[in-house]
Amino acid sequence: MTVTAIPTAAAPVANPSPKRKPRPLSRGRDWVRVGLWVALLFSVLIWAVPLIFMVFTSLKSEADIFGTPAFVPPWAPEWGNYVEALDRGHLLTAGGNSLIVAIIKVPVGLFISAAAAFALSRIRFKRQRLLMGVIALGAMVPIQVAIAPLFQVINGLNLLSTNLGLILPYIAFGLPYQTFILYGFFRQIPEEIDESARIDGAGNWRLFLTIILPLAKPALAALFILDFVATWNEYSIALALLQSQDSWTIPLALQGFQSQFTSSYGPLNAFTIMSVFPVLIVYLMFQRYFVEGAFAGAVKG
């Protein structure tokens, strides 16, 4: 799974200040701003080109794709491309699989990571730092290194082409990174909290479940979103472990569709759009976790 950005402490950043009144005196600086703005707009347009290209193509009939320049909008949208993509692409089956995998993998994986991070940060035992280091090292192992033997392990478990057979390694490969981040976060929680809880007779589990986990909500929420996206997008493990079409996840279905209908450009682009739709929705819903502030304190050396 691709390691993406790390959120930890959520901090209210850049709080919206009351609207500034126009400052007539700073006109000179405003020109710099306008220049910057134009430059930004230009870059954003370039950045959007692939997306526009794809959306336009997905709505064009075959004749239009071959007959009109790519930048001409599809004046007569051809929604049939979407129907055709749905029809031929196993999109719904794959979407269902991806959803099941993500919905089970993400919370279970996070919980397991949080438990490990709790033990490593708040229960004292020998060599715990070393153990954390060994686990963190796992985040550095390129997945492809282990894929061929992993295939044998999953085959030995008789779990090839099953959702569970994918969930288990996904959890394992997500662990090092999540544990590392949560470890850093937990260590910032003052130890006095533990002690007062323990004086009240709380055991480790109560401390973990009722005090530490709730305090870690911001980090957990951000990790949840990032992990959902990473799980949804994962390709190489799924490629090795899922052979039956019924068990395919979205990226495999997309690649399968791509290899079968390469020259059906309209439906292919429609399929691509539909495949990225769920993560886009997740992104738009939880945007602030990604962009606004939630990443402050990201850096725990």
């Binding site: 071959f66 099941i100 089970i104 033997p149 295939f151 044998q152 392990v153 085959n155 030995g156 478990l157 008789n158 779990l159 090839l160 082409s161 099953t162 959702n163 569970l164 969930i167 288990l168 090795a240 052979q243 039956s244 079409q245 019924d246 068990s247 690649q255 399968g256 290899s259 079968q260 209908f261 390469t262 020259s263």
Partner: protein, 419 residues
């Protein structure tokens, strides 16, 4: 040593399986036996429909058996076979090309069930011709049941030929080259190929090898009895190949695939395509006028035709070999084959099924097949997997001008020697 992770894995697995199993099915449910068939998705849509019809007919006649068809594109199918055969995820029936490089590899690995028992039971030996039977018995046992007998040749657009002032299909290699020249100077792409799927351009290289080396040397080379470095015809082959790819093949072929390049032929942008009998239906499906397309054998100068066989194999670890054999029996029966040949191409593997009311376009194959006395096979079927990967790498290096044609044969031989 492999056992250790397995034990841990099994322990953990058991704990978790209890929770989340049932996410994905398989095997038999409610008294029905389900057999899985891994096959290629046919390039013509109508051929896929035919397969579904045949399966539905079979299921109707055998209500206790369901056949789950899993179709994939060529490369995805090869990947799926290599990863699943011999494992619990293997299908009951798998399609494969029959040559030693592809099907042979699976049989060597023990992935195919010996079907002698079923050959006796169903009397299959009489159903298939000697040629197709030889693909079944070539590895010593009875492996697989014949599925198709493919022949490949050059499809050409008669209108584009006429535009370039060519009035007949070429009958020898020099004519072919001069026709390509004429087409090019008329502003028409002579030949279309898609380079991202390496086996497509390979057809040109194979055919040139047959042309330049002749049948005997071709066989000696692909069975590694002759050296690619020493035979001078190999260098000639690669230099012809370089000329074709730089001058007469659609520019940019290296970054598109066979589907995309096929579109060039269908839309009248390219004049020739080196394809097999499955292409008739694709031409039809693409809406080209059938009488505007002709077929001629690649003029190799030998009397062998380019082609290969495809068989369906039963997995060695299939839990339902009887049902699988029953289905394969139906698939190759006269009843099913009549439907089959209507969309699949020209010939049936079942000797009793002769094409009836064949249309003129499909009939173009008859003289080509009749004129041939043997077959030169696609080299990804002759060579082993890693040799094929290298064969393709060198082919693409030559095609992109990265490697001198004269050095290509030695480069390939170096790889063979080091294996």
């Amino acid at each position: 040593m492999r056992a250790v992770p397995k034990i841990i894995a099994v322990g953990l697995g058991l704990a978790l399986v209890a929770g989340v199993s049932g996410c994905s099915g398989g095997g038999s449910t409610d008294g029905k036996t389900e057999i899985t068939w891994f096959k290629l998705t046919e390039s013509a849509d109508s051929a896929n429909t035919t397969i579904n019809e045949i399966v539905a007919d079979f299921e109707k006649a055998n209500p206790d058996i369901t056949v789950k068809v899993e179709g994939r594109a060529v490369d995805a199918h090869k990947d799926a076979l290599r990863t699943t055969l011999g494992t619990s995820g293997s299908p009951d029936i798998f399609f494969s090309w029959a040559g030693p490089g592809l099907g042979g590899e699976f049989i060597d690995a023990g992935a195919s069930l010996d079907l002698e028992k079923y050959y006796d039971e169903y009397g299959w030996a009489d159903r298939f011709s000697d040629t197709t039977m030889s693909t079944v018995t070539q590895y010593g046992g009875h492996d697989g049941v014949p599925y198709t007998q493919r022949t490949e040749a050059v499809f050409y657009n008669k209108e584009l030929f006429a535009q370039a002032g060519i009035d007949a299909a070429p009958t020898n290699y020099d004519d072919l080259v001069s026709d390509a020249k004429k087409l090019k100077s008329a502003g028409i792409t002579p030949f279309e190929f898609g380079g991202t799927v390496n086996w497509h351009v390979m057809r040109l290289l194979d055919s040139l090898l047959e042309t330049k080396c002749g049948a005997d040397t071709y066989q000696a080379l692909v069975t590694k009895k002759a050296s690619w470095a020493d035979e001078s015809c190999v260098a000639d082959t690669y230099s012809e190949f370089a000329t074709w790819t730089s001058d007469y093949v659609n520019p940019g072929f290296i970054s598109i695939n066979n589907d995309e390049s096929g579109a060039l032929f269908f839309s009248g942008k390219a004049a020739m395509a080196l394809e097999g009998d499955w292409f008739n239906q694709q031409v039809r499906d693409a809406g080209m006028a059938e009488d505007s397309v002709g077929i001629f054998a690649f003029p190799t100068g030998t009397d062998r035709i380019y082609g290969f066989n495809e068989n369906n194999y039963i997995s060695a670890n299939s839990k339902h070999p009887d049902e699988a054999a029953k289905f394969l029996d139906y698939l190759t029966s006269a009843e099913a084959q009549k439907k089959f040949i209507a969309t699949f191409g020209s010939r049936s593997v079942n000797v009793d099924v002769v094409p009836a009311d064949q249309n003129a376009f499909d009939a173009e194959w008859n003289p080509i097949v009749a004129a041939s006395t043997g077959v030169y096979m696609n080299n990804d079927q002759n060579l082993s997997q890693s040799e094929t990967t290298e064969y393709w790498r060198i082919q693409n290096l030559v095609a992109t001008g990265e490697l001198e044609p004269s050095k290509a044969g030695a480069e390939f031989q170096k790889f063979i020697d080091q294996e």
